[in-house]
């Protein structure tokens, strides 16, 4: 008799549908849990307990069924994966490109799906631009390496400007067609990306105040489970809500923790990329008397995101992105540029700025 007894170890036989007399005899013989039967067959059972061979056969059949059932359940409940499985899975993770090649390669191919990425920076460093660019890029068709998904864009401070989105989308369409032409065999564009398609794929929600954000995040699970195409959730700007009108620090911590938990869950459950923006704040070091900039809304929040990119502009107007936190990459700083087309690589001799028609 072979069955994986370790699964239902310790399970009392009194819980099984056995007839009372048989059960009494088994208990008298000291066989009170399922694993006790592991190496027994009906003749041994007959000799040891005085149960007839036929009855013993029936008892063992019931036991066997029970074990099989629990084994089945056990298999269903636990999806235990080995590190190798995870490694293979990790290589399959899709990314949303940023159109800044240097940044993409820094992030192993772009903003990963299933993770939370945060962009922080002082005002005017390009946080909203990244959000708009990513919302557009989430729509890039699979045939040229995109994720072909849709976006939920949660705007908290009115920085979702449709004209700017149209500018970025227009350039992205042109860019994708160009890529598709060079990739295609017949010199023809295979991708059917249009401006309308991009705009239709971006779903906007406006939000005033932190309570509304909490409500939207709760409802987000419903939206995502209905629309499987959504691959990106953007919250621009997360910090401003929690820095206005919320003076109770304990409440803020609680809300942020709840929010963090929900967002991480959403990212993992629905395999979407979650992109948040955060402000910067000044941290004063009392002893030295000087100060430096750190991402806002506290240390609790700092633990949440998987990837954190800090954006900055120096006094000459040159922009740079610093990979501040990522579990498997080292801290790097690289330049990027924002022009009429959106986020692009920084090129030193970049002089020509294309005007949208």
């Amino acid at each position: 008799m072979e069955y994986p007894c370790e699964i239902s170890y310790g399970k009392a036989i009194t819980t099984l549908p056995l007839n009372p007399t048989g059960l009494g005899k088994l208990l008298c013989a000291g066989l009170n849990t399922v694993p006790c039967f592991a190496s027994l067959n009906q003749s041994i059972l007959n000799l040891g307990t005085g149960i007839s061979v036929k009855e013993a056969e029936q008892i063992l059949k019931i036991l066997c069924q029970d074990v099989k059932l629990s084994f089945h359940k056990f298999e269903q409940l636990s999806n235990i994966k080995s590190a190798m499985d995870l490694h293979l899975e990790e290589q399959k993770v899709e990314h949303i490109v940023t159109f800044c090649e240097a940044l993409d390669s820094m992030l192993d191919g772009g903003i990963p799906l299933g993770e939370v990425t945060e962009f922080c920076g002082a005002p005017g460093t390009g946080k909203s631009q990244f959000c708009l660019q990513l919302a557009v890029n989430a729509c890039i068709p699979k045939c040229i390496g995109g994720v072909e998904g849709e976006t939920v864009y949660i705007d908290t401070e009115g920085s979702f400007i449709i004209d700017r989105l149209v500018d970025i989308a227009r350039s992205a369409v042109a860019h994708c067609h160009q890529v598709s032409v060079t990739q295609g065999r017949h010199g023809q564009s295979q991708c059917d990306l249009t401006m309308e398609k991009i705009l239709e794929s971006i779903h906007c929600l406006y939000c005033n105040g932190y309570k509304e954000l909490m409500a939207i995040i709760l409802l987000l699970q419903k939206i995502l489970s209905q629309n499987q195409k959504i691959k990106l959730v953007v919250v621009d700007n997360l910090a401003s809500l929690f820095r206005q009108n919320l003076n109770d620090m304990n409440l803020r911590r609680l809300l942020l923790a709840t929010l963090a938990k929900t967002l991480l869950k959403i990212a993992a459950d629905f395999n979407v990329a979650v992109v948040l923006t955060n402000q910067m704040t000044t941290k004063i070091i009392p002893r030295e008397g000087n100060s430096h900039l750190i991402p806002a809304i506290g240390d609790t929040w700092a633990h949440v995101q998987t990837n954190k990119v800090v954006l900055s502009v120096d006094c000459h107007g040159d922009r740079s992105a610093l990979l501040y936190k990522a579990s498997n990459k080292k801290e790097t700083r690289l330049p990027f540029e924002i022009n009429n087309d959106g986020i692009r690589d920084f090129i030193h001799s970049y002089t020509q700025v294309r005007q949208p028609p």
């Binding site: 005017g124 401070e157 705009l199 906007c204 209905q226 206005q244 704040t281 000044t282 006094c315």
Partner: protein, 361 residues
């Protein structure tokens, strides 16, 4: 477990209420309203939305509900609070009432670098040293908002620094009167002098909402924000100042959003020391304030040496000949940041007809 799922699905199919259509949610399986009432009573809170900020265990304790029911309860409140259905960008593009409108500055050059003008629904900051033309720009906005047929209306001008320059306004009105003759420009500008925080708070939090609710006012100018906030707090009260500033800004933000109007805040500058290169002055009030605004425009007076070189190259616009007596001082208007604008610099001059753009720098 499977049976449970099936019954839920059935409930899904039967639900027809508009609310559940919006999010396609499953029908609330229990009487949410009465539960909400019970929770509110127990927790001694009056605001329903407060349920959203209570933690799950707290809520379970208060209501005696299971974990799953607590989630259901929160969802119910969430749906009531956010009845909106997500709109896609194409719908927004097609429907102008969902977009931000732009308040023209009444100068084609400046409008060009601002892509149409000052954005509605957000806070725009105009900063610069003293006498660089901030107030001039604001006055012009107050008049130009009255010219806008579609979105325009009156303006509210809140002064905190010095007296309202009404003589200059009258001068500008004379010029603007050419555009729209019978219009009484002065009657549509509401001026408020504010000398301290108490009156500022009263003005912004009580009087302004009432005035805006009547729908006549389409522009709010605060000249300047820095004056009060800079002198009222000492260096040791940085935290307090930050809190007050962000609260003040959030009120303005709400008003701008709710009434879909542009809010313009004038800011002073402070010298930035210790930096070898870069601008010698930065807008005052620091990062706290900068985080609150959406667009930042900076103005600067060009140094006098440049003024002496340039008068020959002045190209005058037709109909401006009367201004040739007083040689204009050149100023630079620059877009520092805005979500929809590229950084740009424009040379401008101010004459008795207003502020005009000359050329890109």
């Amino acid at each position: 477990m499977d049976e449970d799922k099936v019954s839920r699905n059935n409930a899904d199919g039967n639900s027809n209420s508009a609310e559940s259509e919006a999010y396609g949610s499953k029908e609330v399986l229990f009487d949410a309203e009465s539960k909400i009432k019970a929770v509110l009573q127990k927790a001694r809170i009056s605001d329903e939305t407060q349920i959203l900020v209570l933690s799950d265990p707290d809520l379970a304790n208060l209501s005696g509900l299971t974990h799953q029911d607590v989630q259901e309860l929160k969802l119910h409140v969430a749906k009531k609070l956010v009845p909106q259905v997500p709109l896609n960008a194409l719908q927004i593009l097609k429907d102008e009432s969902l977009q931000h409108w732009r308040l023209s500055v009444s100068c084609p050059m400046i409008d060009r670098i601002l892509k149409g003008g000052i954005l509605s629904g957000v806070i725009t900051e105009i900063s610069g040293e003293s006498a660089c033309g901030k107030t001039q720009l604001c006055l012009q906005l107050c008049l130009s908002v009255q010219l806008d047929q579609k979105h325009g209306g009156g303006a509210v001008y809140i002064c905190t620094e010095d007296v309202f320059p009404s003589r200059r306004l009258q001068q500008l009105i004379k010029f603007f009167a050419k555009n729209k003759k019978s219009h009484r420009y002065g009657d549509n500008i509401f001026i408020e002098h504010v000398g301290d925080f108490e009156s500022l708070d009263v003005c912004v939090e009580r009087r302004l909402p009432t005035l805006l609710a009547r729908g006549l006012v389409k522009l709010v100018v605060i000249d300047s924000v820095a004056a009060l906030f800079r002198c009222h707090y000492t260096a040791a009260q940085v935290m307090e100042r930050a809190r007050h500033l962000s609260q003040f800004a959030s009120v303005l933000h709400q008003l701008a959003k709710q009434h879909r109007i542009p809010v313009v805040c004038v800011n002073q500058v402070s010298a930035s020391m210790g930096r070898a290169a870069g601008p010698s002055v930065t807008p005052a009030l620091g990062l706290t304030w900068a985080n609150q605004i959406t667009c930042r425009i900076m103005m600067k007076r060009l140094s006098s040496s440049l003024c002496c070189e340039d008068p020959q190259s002045t190209h005058q616009k037709p109909g401006e000949s009367s201004s040739s007596l007083n040689l204009p001082t050149y100023r630079v208007l620059s877009v520092v940041f805005a979500p929809h604008l590229a950084p740009a610099n424009l040379k401008v001059c101010i004459d008795n007809t207003g502020i005009h753009g000359l050329e890109d720098i």
